[in-house]
Subunit: 164 residues, 2 copies
DNA sequence: AATATATGTCAACATGACTGACGTAAAATC
DNA sequence: GATTTTACGTCAGTCATGTTGACATATATT
């Protein structure tokens, strides 16, 4: 079957396999974000708010610049999203102790509840996929995804994920 | 170390593991799309154009509705992107033979070249991650990602990926 | 002949990205 | 102590990509 197209080209299967894996990631990510999107829509929040809530929740007291570095967006883009979250009482800022120029970011009680709610849907989805795939598969999944992270800041990213 | 936070709660590690895996997917996807984004920017194309070129390239002669179903966007959203690609000669439409209401989508020569160029960057990234992670890991990666796809149309999506 | 389907299009709008410039307070350095 | 750098905020304008709803046209189906 594949032979029809591949002929005797040994590289074909490889390329085909890669293309399939790329599409798989596309579809998985599409559905991975669908749950949170739907919940946040009820609050008039979007994916951008989700990311902010997620990362602040996992790094209470983080600085604005650290958040910018993670999200890879400009501060003007962040600004709107962040202001909304602060205005509506999901996030609060406190000046840094050591460096009082900093405005450290914290989830409020309300923010934590939302984070919890949204994150739970996503965790359940992932947990289900993990259970079905089994432990070895999960290890492989992690290994490959780690390898997809840009080498230049892979260590930084992995450090962020694990330092807890 | 984890004990400090987890105490004797057996669910903590599990939740923590899930949260880490979620973030991993975020970072991986972010960098996975960065390469194509950069190339397409030179053509004044965005991620939306990329997706169209990708899927039409993998399904020459597909219908507009099939594409809409894959992308999960409205036809008005697709319309703009598609019109641009047609106007600029990357995609052409031909009426269906059996059903002449359909406008089947094809990459032009030019479109194929662009698809090839963009896809190569992405395939190289994935190939590198695969090589580093090893065959077992790749199998696991695929298994987990397949499990993340919405159950309702998982078979449909997987069928699309593999039917070649 | 009536209805359903595949596709396109118009108008209006929301979100989340961008650039570039400027301001302010605090820290760091000379 | 004065100067420079850093952390953050903000203003104004733009762009890309998504949305809804209504309507049009050609072709297929009943």
């Amino acid at each position: 079957m594949t032979d029809v197209k591949s002929g005797n080209n040994p590289l074909f299967l490889r390329e085909e396999e890669l293309r399939q894996s790329i599409e798989l990631l596309f579809f998985a990510y599409r559905d991975f974000t669908a749950g949170p999107d739907a919940i946040l829509k009820q609050y008039n929040f979007g994916r951008a708010h989700h990311r902010v809530i997620h990362f602040v929740g996992r790094n209470q007291g983080m600085t604005v610049s650290e958040l910018l570095d993670i999200l890879r967006i400009t501060k003007q883009s962040l600004s709107r999203v962040l202001s909304t979250l602060i205005d509506r009482g999901y996030i609060e800022q406190r000046p840094g102790q050591r460096d009082r120029r900093q405005r450290l970011l914290f989830l409020t009680e309300k923010g934590q509840q939302l984070e919890q709610q949204v994150s739970q849907v996503q965790r359940e989805l992932v947990a289900k996929a993990f259970r079905e795939a089994g432990g070895d598969a999960v290890a492989g999944y992690r290994k490959v995804l780690a390898g997809l992270i840009d080498e230049k800041d892979r260590d930084k990213a992995l450090g962020r994920i694990e330092r807890r």
